[in-house]
C-alpha cells in the first residue's frame, strides 16, 4: 500500500520560553516490510534540522534558542508497505518453543528480554500466559502470540486518557484499562517472561473507512514485535486485536517507549504548556482523510 502521514504537533506556552532543544523520532523506517519514500520536517519558529542515525532509526533534532511562545512541528511522510498477509510467514502447527532456550538466542537478544523501567518482568503476568496457552489453536509460538493478542484485547479496555506514559504495568493490570502504550508494555512484559524476545514499536495505523472499530492512539500508534522461531520479527497489536500487516507504518522500535519517544524536548521557562497533536494517515488508493484526532 502507498500511504501518507501528516503529523502536526503544536505546543503553546503560557509565557515565552527559550533555549528549546528537541529530538524527533518520527521518520518511518525502511526495512523488508516497508519503504519510506519521502520524509519532511518543518518547524515554526523556523529552525535548522539536524539528524543522525542509530541502528534502529533516524533521529532529527533542532534548537530554538530565541524566546518564543509557541512551537509547531510538522512531519510529512510517504511510505510504501509490503506485508499484505503476515500469516503466510507463520508456523502455526508444531511446538517450536525450544528455540527460545538456545543460549545464543537469549544472549544475542538480551536487550529485548531484559526488564526495563517501563517493562518490568512480573510473576503476576503468568496467568495471562497460561490463559493464552489454553486458548491457542496449537502449541506453536505464533498461535500463542495470536491468542495472547486476542486475550489482552478482550480483557483490557482501551480508554483514552486513562493513563500517562509513566503508568507502571502492574497498575494497568489492576485497573484493566489503558492506551496503546500500556497494551504494548503489558504484552512485552508477558512475552519477555516467556523468554520470547520482543520489542516496542512506535508507528501509525491506516484505519481506512472502518475507523470506528480501530484505534490508532492519540498521536501515533504503538504495538509490539516478537521474534518467531523462524528468525523473523512479526508485529502484534493487542489494542486492536490484529497481527500487523500493510496497514501499519513502523517508525522505530526499542526496548520500551523510553527508547522511541516521538518527541523529546527540554526548554528554559515555566513548565505550563498546552499540547495539540493532529495525525492524518491517508491512502493513495482511498484518498479521503481518515484518522484525524
Amino acid at each position: 500500500m502507498r500511504l501518507s502521514v501528516q503529523h502536526i504537533t503544536r505546543y503553546r506556552y503560557l509565557r515565552a520560553v527559550s533555549h528549546s532543544h528537541n529530538e524527533v523520532r518520527l521518520m518511518p523506517t525502511t526495512d523488508s516490510n516497508q519503504t519510506c519514500l519521502i520524509f519532511n520536517i518543518t518547524t515554526d519558529p523556523e529552525a535548522t534540522i539536524f539528524h543522525f542515525d542509530l541502528p534502529w532509526g533516524r533521529v532529527h533534532h533542532f534548537d530554538v534558542v530565541q524566546a518564543h511562545s509557541y512551537l509547531d512541528i510538522t512531519c510529512e511522510a510517504k511510505i510504501e508497505t509490503h506485508r499484505a498477509n503476515p500469516f503466510e510467514e507463520m508456523q502455526l502447527v508444531e511446538n517450536d518453543r525450544d528455540f527460545y532456550l538456545i543460549r545464543d538466542i537469549s544472549e544475542y537478544y538480551v536487550d529485548f528480554l531484559s526488564p526495563t523501567l517501563r517493562v518490568p518482568i512480573l510473576e503476576e503476568t503468568d496467568i495471562f500466559a497460561q490463559q493464552a496457552m489454553a486458548r491457542a489453536d496449537s502449541p506453536a509460538t505464533a498461535s500463542f502470540l495470536i491468542a495472547l493478542t486476542n486475550l489482552l484485547h478482550s480483557e483490557f479496555a482501551y480508554v483514552p486518557g486513562s493513563t500517562t506514559v509513566d503508568t507502571p504495568v502492574h497498575e494497568v493490570i489492576e485497573r484493566r484499562m489503558g492506551v496503546c502504550q500500556d497494551f504494548a508494555h503489558l504484552m512485552l512484559s508477558i512475552c519477555r517472561r516467556q523468554l520470547i524476545p520482543s520489542r516496542y514499536v512506535s508507528g501509525y495505523l491506516y484505519t481506512g473507512t472502518g475507523r470506528d472499530s480501530l484505534v490508532s492512539g492519540d498521536a501515533s500508534h504503538a504495538w509490539i514485535e516478537c521474534l518467531l522461531p523462524g528468525g523473523q520479527w512479526l508485529g502484534f497489536d493487542p489494542t486492536n486485536n490484529l497481527v500487523v500487516n500493510d496497514k501499519y507504518i513502523k517508525v522505530q522500535h526499542g526496548r520500551d517507549y523510553g527508547d522511541v519517544p516521538p518527541l523529546r524536548g527540554i526548554y528554559r521557562g515555566p513548565a505550563a504548556q498546552e499540547l495539540e497533536v493532529d495525525v492524518r494517515v491517508t491512502s493513495e488508493e482511498a484518498p479521503e482523510l481518515i484518522g484525524s484526532v
Binding site: T48, L54, P55, E107, G265
Partner: protein, 522 residues
Amino acid sequence: MTLFDGYNASSFYDEMFDGSGEPRPHYRRLFEKLSQMSTSDYNSRCHLADLTLVNQGITFTVYGDEQGLEKPWPFDLMPRIVPAAEWDHIERGLRQRIMALNLFLHDIYHDQKILNDKIVPRDLIIGAAHYRREFVGANPPGGIYVHICGSDLIRDSDGTHYVLEDNLRCPSGVSYVLENRSILTRVLPNLFQQLPVQPVEYYTTQLLHNLRSLAPASRIEEPNVVLLTPGVYNSAFFEHSYLAQQLGVELVEGRDLFVEDNIVYMKTTRGPKRVDVIYRRVDDDFMDPLVFRSDSSLGVPGIINSYRAGNVALANSIGTGVADDKAVYAYLPQIIKYYLGEEMILQNVFTYLGSEPAQLDHILKNLDKLVVKATNESGGYGMLIGPQSTAETRAEFADKIKSNPRNYIAQPLISLSTAPAFVDDHFEPRHIDLRPFILTGKDGITIIPGGLTRVALRRGSYVVNSSQGGGSKDTWVLAAEPEPNDQKTSSAAVSTHSQLQNPSTQTQAVGAGSPGWSELAQ
C-alpha cells in the same frame, strides 16, 4: 633515637624495608638523610606543609559529613620511591591495558566483533549500567574514548603488582600528584639532592596538547578548550580549579554553556564564544538532560548531539564507564589477547563474577574471606571487606548479591604493601596503593612517572580513598642511575653564567647554516 625506631612492617611487603629490617637499595640515601633529622625538625616541616595546604585551600569535600564541607587534603611528607626497573614494568603494563581498552570501547560501540566472537558475553556489556546505546555508531575524534585514565595498583605480600581497577570515567587525583611534589620541594628540598627523581609537572602541558588536538578540523588553529565541573560543591572541585589554572583554560559549569544549531557556546561578558574541546569532569548521566537524565541541572542540553556531529570534542568520551565495570575487568586478559595478541603484563586480581552461577555460589559461601564490590560503584562505596566484616553486614550483602548477582564481583583480599607514614613523632607502616595517570592522545600514550600514592592513614586500614580517611604521598620514580661523572652540577654552572651574558653574543652562536634559518630562505 631516630624517626625509624620501632618500625615493624610485620608480614606485609614494605616498600622501604626488606624482611630483615634493612632499607632497600633505592631507599638507602633517603634513609640516611632522614636518620640525621630530629623529630622536632621533621615535625616542623610537617606543620609547614599542613599550613600551606590549609592556606591554599587544598581541600576535598566529603559527602554526608556534618562537620562542614571541606577537609584539608592529608599529605604524608615521606615520599614513596619506585626504582627505574619496577616503573618500566608498570609503564609497559599500563600502556598495554589502555590500548586494549580503547580498542575494546571502539569495537563495542561499532561492530561488536568481540561480542560476536563470544570472547566477552554480550549480555554482560549490553546489560551494563554504563553502556550507552544512544552512542552506538558515533565516532569520537581520533577514535579515542579514554583520554585520561587513572589505574589503581596494589602490591601483594610477595611484591607482585596487581591492577585493582582502571578508572575510565573521570578519574581524579592528578592535582595532588602535582601539588604534593611542589610542596615537598619547598618543605624538604634537601631530600631531592642527589636522587634522580623524574619530573611530573609536564603532565598539564601534555594534557593540553592532547586536548587541543581533538578540536574540530576547522578550529584546530586556536581551539577554545574548557574544563567542565559540576561546581564548587563537588568533592574534586579543588582539582578542577587547579587543573583549569595549570592548563590555562576556562573552568565552566553547565550553566555557562549552551547549544545553538548544534554548536556549543560559553557565555562571556562579550557575548557567546564557541567552545571546541571540553575536558569534562561531569559523569555521562549528568552531561545532557536531553539525552540522559532529564532532571540533571549540571549538564548542557544538546551537547551530546553536538559531540556526535563532531562540532565539539569531549574528553573522556561518552560511554567509557562500560569498560571500567568491575565485571568487564575480569575479562581484560581475554580482551588484551583479542586485540593485541599479547599476554597481560600487569596482572589482574582474581575475580569471581556474580553473573556466573558457579562463581556466585563460591562468593556466597566465602563472604568472610572475600572482598565484594558493586560492579559500577567507585570510591570505596558499595564494598564489603569480608575478613573485617560482621556476620550482620555479611547477611545484608548476601541478600543484595542474590537480588542482583550481575551487580557484584568478589576478589580475594590482597594484603596491600606498606610504607612508612609519620604518626605523632615517628614512622609507622601504613597500607598504600598507587594510581598512575595515563594520557592517550592522537600521537600516543603518555604516562607521567609515578602517580598518586594513596595511604590509609588509620592503622590496619586498607581503604585509601580520600572520601574514607585516606591521605597521599609524593611518588618518586627514579631515573636509571646516573653515570659516575655527574653532569648535573656542570650544566647548572653554565646556565648561571649565561644569565648575565649580553644577548648579542648568544645570537652569534646561531650560524648562517643553522636549520631554522636555511629553511626559511628556501
